[in-house]
């Protein structure tokens, strides 16, 4: 492990139960077994460490959700797996993020904060996607309320588990939650949160840029170097995106190519991009 990562991980450990301001660099370097000077070889300042920690946690979260999305599983089972993963992430990352978010706001500049917030919304985006896979157009109107309630219930149980130090079987809990959602969906209540209300905040309406897709392809490419079908698909997408007026037909076709090869995450990015074209 690099010294940088060591510092990040030890800091997360320490900051789990202390505030940023009340934790000195000395505390951190003591925990790492390194000197104060060594810290400043990896990080320019305390501020830089904080940003790095947030990026580290968010990256961890996103990559795990990506893996989940790329699994080939029946939609409801995927929702259950999503809950299980979310509970694990809540346990590991959420206390840190929620406790220190406010403090971070005072330390680092607005653009960094905005970036972090947008990335944090990824979990909600995924909730919406999974719900759509299961219930289709039936929940078109009520999906925002559902997403809020689901996230709330998840947090409710997560908090209960953490505070009571209860060991609850996450899979059982997830099955239970899926049942509750079923009940709520079939009750078909008049929704309260409309699309307009939900998307008023641009952070809830992630805008995928050309570069995001190209980056993602570059990341995946190597893995599929021997599969000419996939490399061709990648090639076609890249070509089409370079054009001034990319054709929806090509991109959508390629996106279903991706889905059949379990590159769901990339497919989602592409679909989002098409929607906003």
């Amino acid at each position: 492990m690099s010294k940088r990562d060591l510092i990040i991980e030890k800091s997360i450990e320490i900051l789990f139960e202390r505030s940023i301001a009340s934790t000195s660099i000395q505390d951190i370097t003591n925990a790492c077994g390194i000197s104060k000077g060594a810290f400043y070889l990896s990080f320019k300042s305390k501020e830089e460490l904080l940003i790095a920690i947030f990026e580290y946690l968010i990256q961890d979260m996103i990559s795990k959700y990506q893996e989940l999305i790329n699994l080939q599983t029946e939609p409801k089972e995927k929702l259950r797996q999503y809950f299980v993963l979310s509970f694990k992430l809540f346990e590991k990352n959420y206390p840190f993020i929620s406790t220190h978010a406010r403090e971070l706001i005072n330390i680092v500049d607005k653009e960094v904060i905005n970036n972090i917030q947008t990335q944090c919304k990824i979990a909600d985006q995924i909730t919406l996607l999974l719900l759509k896979d299961i219930y289709g157009s039936k929940i078109e109107e009520s999906k925002y309320d559902l997403s809020i309630c689901i996230r709330g219930m998840m947090k409710g149980y997560a908090e209960f588990i953490v505070l009571q130090k209860q060991s609850v079987d996450y899979y059982e809990l997830s099955k239970f939650l899926v049942n509750r959602i079923d009940v709520l969906v079939h009750a078909d209540l008049t929704p309260l949160i409309t699309k307009e209300m939900y998307e008023q905040d641009p952070k809830n309406h992630v805008l995928i840029k050309k570069e995001d897709i190209l980056d993602e392809i570059t990341k995946c490419k190597e893995q599929y170097i021997d599969d000419s079908f996939i490399t061709d698909t990648f090639e076609l997408i890249m070509e089409e995106l370079q054009k001034e007026h990319p054709r929806k037909a090509i991109l959508l076709g390629m996106s279903s190519n991706l889905v059949t090869n379990n590159l769901n995450w990339l497919a989602i990015l592409l679909k989002q991009y098409i929607n906003n074209m």
Copy 2:
């Protein structure tokens, strides 16, 4: 307003968006327009201020919930009012408590923390009480799950409202939540959280002491000085509680006297005490 209260209120304002450690006494006294010395006339230390702030917020919360409980309203409407109040309190007090709770733990000693945590559980206790009033024994088994889900959904919406700076009609939202709860109750799902799990943490099982009831009576007494029925009831409760073996019959009878006079809060304390006798 006393200087002490001025300092507490200004501190809450400032600490809404800063951490405790990064806020100096000087910052606080500047905001109050007083000198540093004046601060130390009201508080022995920064630590004492923090404890005072938490006590202030919790007292505010409890007294408002008490008022609500003492209202004479149809149970479902009371649940709606409970939601409206909770949303207001979330908006006002919750961000402070959740952000600074962890930091407080490092500063003040365990006993103080424990005390604060127990008082914070009051909202959950009230949820359970109100649910019992509406649905009776039907939810005996599932009430713990319901309470967790309800709290979660409330928090979900509260967070949405705060983050999006949306102005949502709290009463409409509360009606919506009550409908959702109806749906969940009537679906009659197998519960996940059992009484044993819930009460494992003694904080979820508030033990009312003789003194709590006597204190509460002393507080109410003055208000009812002209009503001989109520003063007699008070007198009888106090007499009975002083005995080595207070008789349940008397106490339960007096508790229903209290309910008929809208002294619901005191009645609840008394019933809880009887239950644990």
